[in-house]
Amino acid sequence: MSETVDLTTRYLGLDLASPLVASAGPLNGDPATARLVAEGGASAIVMPSLFEEEILHEEIQLNRALDAGTEHFAEALDYFPSIPELADAGDRYVATLARIKAQVDVPVIASLNATTKGGWVRYARRMEEAGADAVELNLYRVAADPTLTGADMEARDLDLVATVREAVGVPLAVKLSPYYSAMANFAARVVATGADGLVLFNRFYQPDLDLENLDVVPRLELSQPWELRLPMRWIAILRPQLGPRVSLAATSGIRGGIDVVKALMVGADVAMMTSAVLRNGPGHFAAVEADLRTWMARHEYTSVDQLRGSASQATSGDPSAFERANYMKTLHSWAAPPGLTPASPSS
């Protein structure tokens, strides 16, 4: 029965064998593990982000380190052999991308994380040249500057989207944070600026305190299932607003087939996973796919197309459920789900 279920979907103009995409995670940054992810059943792979800061920091710091102590002292006019062409973080990223492309037969999406326009944009083009099937631009910044308004921040982000759009010919997805005050408006403008799709939402290291040393430390927590609620809400809202041609990807909290069903129902084209794969290994994609097929078959769904958007804000029985109206209800029904207990530090 399940064989008859059609899992194919289209994301950023790419025909995918299933809606299960490996989101930007550490396994996808290494050709060997990326291959396992693809073989494990991911229908596309998003590479971990190349950070603008990483490129700049590395160029500046490495240059400083190589120059340190030069021309100080007659016996040692420098301390390193002459260094030939240096591959910076961007070069290495592009090289890894090419190697991954050579090893997997699913689409590979390169990812850029940036906050400013700058010289690093040249890497977007190089990603395309190295065979990226699409580029995901990860917009993430902390609005810590009190002199900048929300409008300023949005304008800068849109400018950035336009710059990358101009740089590449392949499809462009923009991964957003959930913290825009006018998400629906902003999402529409991102699309209008040239994005072929949106990825909702990014989640990043949040700083923590090390109480022994009184240091601020970054801490990675794997996502928990409840985190899917936020992207679900917004995909449900945005799907009808943006129309069927704009790709939407749900990410955060996707753990099993049921989660994928939910994401698709509210309107996602694909569901992206990293945490569950880190927990369970690359073979988890196959398990989720089997769950998905089983659920669809049991509920007599025949294709992802059929499922997609069937319970968006426009198509659900209770449109207000995705808006503030159900806030009170949720609070009243709240009981601590097991996933909400503080997670132990990732190892």
Binding site: E59, L66, E71, E75
Partner: protein
Amino acid sequence: MDRRFECMDGNEAAARIAYALSEVVAIYPITPASPMAEHADDWSAAGKPNLWGVVPDVVEMQSEAGAAGALHGALQKGALGTTFTASQGLLLMIPNMFKIAGELTPTVIHVAARTIATHALSIFGDHSDVMHARTTGWAMLAAGSVQEVHDFALIAHAATLRSRVPFLHFFDGFRTSHEVDKISVLDTEDLRALVRDGDVLEHRARGMTPDAPVVRGTAQNPDVFFQAREASNPYHLAVPGVVRQVMDELAERTGRRYDLVQYHGALDAERVVVVMGSGSGAVEEAVDSLVAAGEPVGMLRVRLFNPFPAEQLVAALPPSVRSIAVLDRTKEPGAVGEPMYLTVVAALAEQADGRPLPRVIGGRYGLSSKEFTPAMAKAVFDELTRPEPKRHFTVGIYDDVTRLSLPVDTDFRYPRPAREVQAVFFGLGSDGTVGANKASVKIIGEHTDLWSQGYFVYDSKKSGSVTVSHLRFGPDPIRSTYLVEDADFVACHQFGLLEKMKVLDVAKPGATFLLNSPFPAETVWDHLPREVQQQLVDKGVDLWVIDAYKVASETGMGSRINTVMQPCFFKLSGVLPADEAIAHIKAFVEKTYSRRGQTVVDRNFAAIDHSLERLVRVPLGEVTSSRRMASTVPDGAPEFVKRVTTLLMAGDGDRLPVSALPVDGTFPTGTTKYEKRAIAQEIPIWDPDICIDCGKCAIVCPHATIRMKVFEPGAVAGAPPEFLSKDFRSKDLPGHRLAIQVAPDDCTGCGVCVDVCPAKSKTEVRHKAINMEPVGEHRDIERTRWDYFQSIEPLDRSLLPHDSVKGSQVLEPLFEFSGACSGCGETPYLKLVTQLFGDRMIVANATGCSSIYGANLPTTPWTVNAAGRGPAWNNSLFEDNAEFGLGMRLALDTMRGQARALLAKLSPELGVDLVTDLLAPADTEAEIEVQRRLLDQLRDRLAGIDSPDARHLLALAGNLVRQGVWLIGGDGWAYDIGFGGLDHVLSSGRNVNVLVLDTEVYSNTGGQASKATPRGAVAKFAAAGKSTGKKDLGAIARAYGNVYVAQVAMGANDLQTTKALLEADAWPGPSLVIAYSTCIAHGIDMSKSMTHQKDAVKSGYWPLYRFQPSEISDGRPFKLDSHKPSIPVRDFVASETRFAVLERTHPERAAQLAELAQADADERWRYYEQLAGVLRTVPHLSPPIVPSPDVQPEVDRDGSGS
């Protein structure tokens, strides 16, 4: 033919040819020749082929002796080979050089000629090394300029293949090896034309092969050795002709005509100077000036020194010559004259043929790169006019002892060519001034028709070092082989230098002066020292200012102000139109930095673009300033410091007469404290409210500028109100106070203390118990505090145990304020050793960083305590330090033995009780203190005894106190060049303490790989990452069974370091402490020096252990002192450029090596873990029985003598 012109220094000019014409290049680093080897290694790593399309095999050896051996072997097999060296390195090659010449084997050694260490080491240039090699049978060809180096390198390689006689091609260290000049570059066709294939094939045919076996290197007996030695005569005799032939062929191709000896000057010259090497440039200018003035003078340049072209020399002299002065750049004490003088005299005598000989006098000049100017050359010509000239003289110094020196007319100048620009730049090593000036020389030399020259003078400090760049640009080739004397343009890139250096002395009247000023144009005049104002006015200088640091900071360039200052130079000097210059500067930046990333290029561009708009002219004002140039030493300084050291510090050492200097190289210690360099921008400020008394800031301080004192409250009753102290947390010393104090003018601002400080404020966690603060806001108050702090009596050493960080840090350091790099990882260990044992230690220090920051004049950091006791220090060589130290131990033991025997013998006169007490063991500090008091009694009693025995005992008595012999050096010494000796000394069982400051590279010469360099690290001579793992030196030492061995890293475990040093001192046999030492060559942020050490240990990369052969408690001598690795090695290495850069240059190789490096660490840890459990069946291994002075002598109790 169109000739290509490029700018390069002498080392590169030689290396290009040597590399192109070699298959095997055996190398070893030594200043100033290292860059030749580095170029060869770089090119080989980059796969650059030689003339025959083969990439030469460039192999670093363990010493110059090894390099010569490898070269010898390669040549005997029939390969073309070369090497590069200088000074003592050349001396180490001499045994093989005799063999190579004796076997008529063609090869070339390129030598950047350097002073041989005698009363002192000197890295600078003269001919003492090459002159020492003149008996080896090698031909010796001397180049005097960068162009000549390039040409003569080819001539040497071609001539050696034709003649079969090996060639020593030499040029003056630094003056030529490091001078950047515009030269015409030889192309491959030139090389092919001169290096004939047939000669190469004949060399090949002589190579060893089992297909046509021969034996060389036989032992010969009196019957034939002599004849065989004479058999090669025809080959040596042919050399001058061969060289002449090759020179002619080169002239035909290039138009540059050289001769074996070359005359220049008046055709009717009566006075002639004979000179060799770079000094000939200055002599030539003097000759031209004097000839233009109608004086009958000339010069002979000697190019081929060996075999000496006697006939050509005589033939080249005009028949009118009456007198000759031969200049030698070396000294042979006791000889009738120096080598070239003797050779010229002999040549003239031999060729005289009955004619009267001209008068010949000989003089020394330019030892250790002493300046040699046309004025000095003129002094020599003047001397020849005297009726009775000095037969032997010196020039360039003032000799008030043996009165050999010639008076010099310092106003004499060679008239500079029209349109020439001479420029001098004062900067700091860290601000990029030299780099920018090298770029300017290249820009002008390679992109215009002008000729250009750059020479760079560095001071002897590794932190805060001052650089002075001397640049010349002009329409004619530049022959001036001396510093700029009358600059058209002077730039001072550091405002602070105005107070310390006489930067305007070199400016000619009407010169342009560019000043980097933090003060705006409107107010800068009032900030100038009075002396500077006066000179500006007197010389009518055109003054311009720019705030380069501001521009650099705004454009993301940090403290690199080079790209801000460089456009200003071009605009003001008028060498090139500003627009054109800026386009060239940008192209140069692009070429240099594009491979390091576009961001770096963009920031440089921004700095360039913003520079000229901030450049402002300042009208000269009245001389009104109340600021004065800093006086250099305090009034209380010792006489020697005032008379001699002060001048050295002020850069006026050239003015010191011979009589001012010690006759045997002996200097007082403890002089760094008089050199207040005040180089830090930020200094650490103590907050006693937060301090937890741990002592970590003090123990890690590389320059001993953070001090800790504990005292009773009453001790500071007269303290100034600014003085800070707090209650001292200690069970041992209740009620005491603690002060932690920075020496504000000695601190280099490295920040290591702040990095390690564990105490953070409860209300603001970034605020620690010690914090870096801008020096301007704190200097005055900290000076007051420091002055007072110094007056507090040190704590009685017996009141606190020393085996803790805190306990060790209240002890007075006897190693302070060295010139080591800011954040140096080595010096904290040295300081700690002196805190623990400084008043009873003698040091044998291998050549390297520690001998340079340890004893490079003007001032030296090893010092004394209030009793006048402190480490006695000496440096022999690089290769023999272990043996040198062992010799000290042998002497100490025998002298101590004699003292004990004499004590026993004299016991009737001295008193049995005193003698018995003095002969009792005294190992602890308390016992030693008692012993010292007894010694005072002994000396008193000996003074009253008039006998030879008493006099001898008086001389020997000091040795009764236990002294530690410390053998100190880096990994280059311990792992490589000195390993054989170290191994032998460790095997001797004698009581020596070896401290290896392991930076895992040759730090002093610029980061060349040693056998301590770990797998995967990029270093010079391991540009593609070192393939093999680090040698486990500790394992080798442990294998002897009776050697105490510890591996330590202060940043990871300062307590373990302290304990290891105490145990090493206490162990009566050999001890080896291998200390992980962070280094600027690691490519790390040196303020995090100790954090890197911690990570090295956490990753298992550097396990801490102590191997105690005396262990008896549980029979397990090996104690693993670090925890199981908690982070992967990759996390540690990712933070260090030496490893991380490989991932950027050779990613796949980096991945492979990283995997192996992890495997190395895992395996070592597994092995060490097991070793820690190994039970020794010999429970108590004491040192082997050696003649011990501690054998109890028979005390003569009955007074009959024995």
